[in-house]
């Protein structure tokens, strides 16, 4: 026989017996035997579908059956099965977090929201839409949305969400406005160049809508601060441009049970989806890790800074992202949860794929292995621990070498059209052709390799070191942009 330990609160349904003997079998058999012998236990252990209730944990010895074969886990002769009620609660003064704890729920209840006369006039075109109305507008005002990244995607997302009357908008960005941003980041103007993006954004958004509150996070989102920043929001809008932050935002959203409205852009293509969202009465939708369990190898997919992006594309895709944020908050319409939308601007083609939760999702699949935030730079191979570090030279050191006549060769691994815009006298050998031109790269003096910001030159150095055994290669830290900033600001930046 096996032993079942009944928790104290349920003992009144088992004639005050703490330990019951059951036949060996599976957990399912054990639960069936218990509920036949003690019918009052049934509603406490099983839901309407006869499944074990989510707030009932069952342990065999010290192991949660969720980490084993769920209800099919074997209960062997002599096993000790513990029924463990989930114990939780809290002051819960804020009803939004209560709903969010259920995992990605449509989290906003706006019943108690009131509007001023000015606000009613401002939002009139929303309020008169049949099926949207006052109720949806109240939810928007009650809602708290965190927009991660205030660049290409963040610009339209922030402008439209602020205009729509989202009550509280958080903005995370560490960057300052650069003139090269203005080709697509329509939130900013020439007067904002050089200002922190979050502050420039606040100025613009407040001028647009004085009825909303803006919270600024002028910082890099990282594993240490992400949970703390995200926890106060109902919905997260991910408009980041790199894989480590994208996985970080996804994982933090899943761990905190918040819906994550995702978008990304590259060159002529945009993608949109809604992750980790549970519509009212529905099941929890997939997240980014159901789509891409692991990131692509570093360097395979260049960032917009390296690969470029058509300026109007983030305007289109960011507007779709703002639309999905509004649908998640209000519960109006069908969101993109469980679907993945791709827009190809070049051929004007749209495709929508169905995506499903994967059993092997490391965050919330059958056997979750990630229960806290990890080092995402390392996870995405940006800082692989096993690789020995590259030798680097800063722009200032390179300048010193130039001034003091230190012998070195300068290689530029960018593309010819970039070289045509600006160069610092390096020999042009584009990354893809580096191996073919190894014969032109010196071995008997220092060789400094550079690109735009340092990513491609690092790849070139690794390839040359691996294939040809070079030991005299130095990566220019921050690429030609750092050199222009620090040494020759009169040159053209792009």
């Amino acid at each position: 026989m096996a032993t079942v330990i009944i928790p104290t609160p349920l003992r009144k349904f088992t004639n005050n017996t703490a330990r019951l003997q059951v036949k060996p079998g599976t957990v399912q058999d054990t639960v069936r035997e218990l509920t036949i012998n003690f019918p009052d236990l049934k509603k406490h252990l099983l839901d309407e579908q006869g499944k074990i209730r989510s707030y009932v944990n069952i342990f065999i010895g010290n192991d949660d059956i969720r980490d084993l074969q769920q209800e099919h886990t074997a209960v062997q002769e002599g096993a000790v099965v513990s029924i463990v009620p989930a114990i939780a609660g809290g002051s819960g003064a804020d009803p939004r977090s209560a709903a969010a704890n259920a995992g990605g729920a449509a989290p906003v209840n706006g019943e108690d929201v009131v509007f001023t006369k000015e606000e009613l006039a401002r939002y009139n075109r929303h309020i008169i839409i049949p099926g949207f109305g006052m109720e949806a507008q109240q939810k928007l005002k009650k809602a708290r949305v965190l927009v991660v990244g205030s660049g290409g995607l963040g610009s339209p997302v922030l402008l439209y969400l602020a205009a729509a009357g989202i009550g509280t908008i958080g903005i995370v960005d560490f960057d300052v406005v650069d003139d090269s941003n203005l080709q697509r980041q329509v939130l900013f103007g020439v007067d904002a160049v050089g200002q922190p993006k979050v502050e420039a954004a606040k100025k613009r958004l407040q001028a647009l809508n004085p009825h909303i509150e803006l919270k600024l996070y002028n910082t890099h989102l990282n594993s240490h601060n992400a949970l703390d920043i995200l926890k106060d929001y109902d919905v997260i809008a991910d408009g980041t441009d790199n894989f480590p932050t994208r996985y970080l935002v996804n994982d933090a959203s899943v761990l905190l049970g918040k819906p994550n409205v995702y978008a990304s852009i590259f060159q002529f293509e945009g993608q949109v989806s809604v992750f980790n969202y549970r519509p009212a009465g529905g099941t929890l939708g997939p997240n980014y890790r159901d789509l891409y369990p692991t990131p692509p190898p570093p360097g395979l997919v260049p960032s917009c800074a390296e690969g470029g992006v058509l300026g109007v594309l983030p305007g289109i895709i960011g507007s779709l992202q703002a639309l999905e944020v509004i649908k998640v908050i209000t519960g109006v319409g069908e969101t993109l949860s469980g679907r993945f939308y791709i827009f190809d601007a070049l051929n004007f083609e749209s495709r929508t794929f169905t995506i499903k939760p994967r059993e092997d999702n490391p965050l919330n699949g059958k056997n979750p292995t990630i229960t806290a935030l990890i080092d995402y730079e390392q996870f995405c191979g940006m800082r692989a621990v096993e690789e020995k570090p590259l030798k680097e030279v800063t722009a200032k050191e390179l300048y010193d070498w130039q001034v003091t006549g230190e012998p070195f060769q300068l290689i530029d691994v960018r593309e010819p059209h970039e070289y045509a815009i600006v160069n610092i006298g390096g020999e042009l050998i584009p990354l893809a052709t580096v191996a073919d031109h190894a014969g032109e790269i010196d071995r008997d003096r220092k060789v400094v390799v550079h690109c735009k910001v340092g990513g491609r030159s690092a790849k070139a150095i690794r390839e040359l070191e691996e294939k040809f055994g070079y030991t005299n290669l130095y990566n220019l830290k921050g690429g030609i942009l750092a050199y222009i900033d620090q040494i020759q600001p009169e040159l053209t930046k792009y």
Binding site: A86, I87, A88, G92, D94
Partner: protein, 142 residues
């Protein structure tokens, strides 16, 4: 009625103050008389296992729960219930408390408005899954 003497009360308040502004949580052990009167004789402080914001929520890990049941068995006590704090909120169960509550358990809530303004109240679920207040006394049970 639940009897919480001044020593136990002191232990509960200490945990609530030490954990402030986060919510504290733990178990209460003791005896239950035939008339339903409960007396707390000891408590077990456990970690608030809630991921993320602990200032409005608490969660107790299943491992800690099993430890508490074993602790009760070992000392021949009854696991009488759960205590937790409401930093800067009154000692009234929230809707979240009610949804997650277990039958039978006494839920003692320690409201900490500031270091001087502390209130303890206890709550029990009735058959309709609604909380009813349970009187706390500090009478020394013989």
């Amino acid at each position: 009625m639940i009897i919480i003497d001044s020593r136990i009360r002191q232990l509960l308040v200490e945990d609530a103050l030490n954990t402030f502004p986060d919510e504290c949580c733990g178990f209460m052990f003791g005896r239950e008389e035939h008339d339903g009167t409960r007396q707390v004789v000891d408590i077990l402080v456990v970690d608030n296992a809630k991921a993320g914001d602990k200032t409005r929520r608490f969660e107790i890990s299943p491992q800690d729960y099993m430890t508490a049941e074993a602790h009760a068995l070992e000392h021949d006590w009854t696991l009488l219930g759960i205590y937790h704090s409401h930093p800067k909120h009154p000692a009234i169960p929230s809707e979240h408390d009610r949804k997650a509550a277990q039958p039978y358990f006494s839920y003692v809530i320690i409201s900490v408005m500031d270091a001087e303004t502390i209130e303890l109240r206890s709550w029990l679920l009735n058959e309709e899954q609604q909380f009813e207040e349970e009187t706390i006394t500090n009478y020394q049970y013989q």
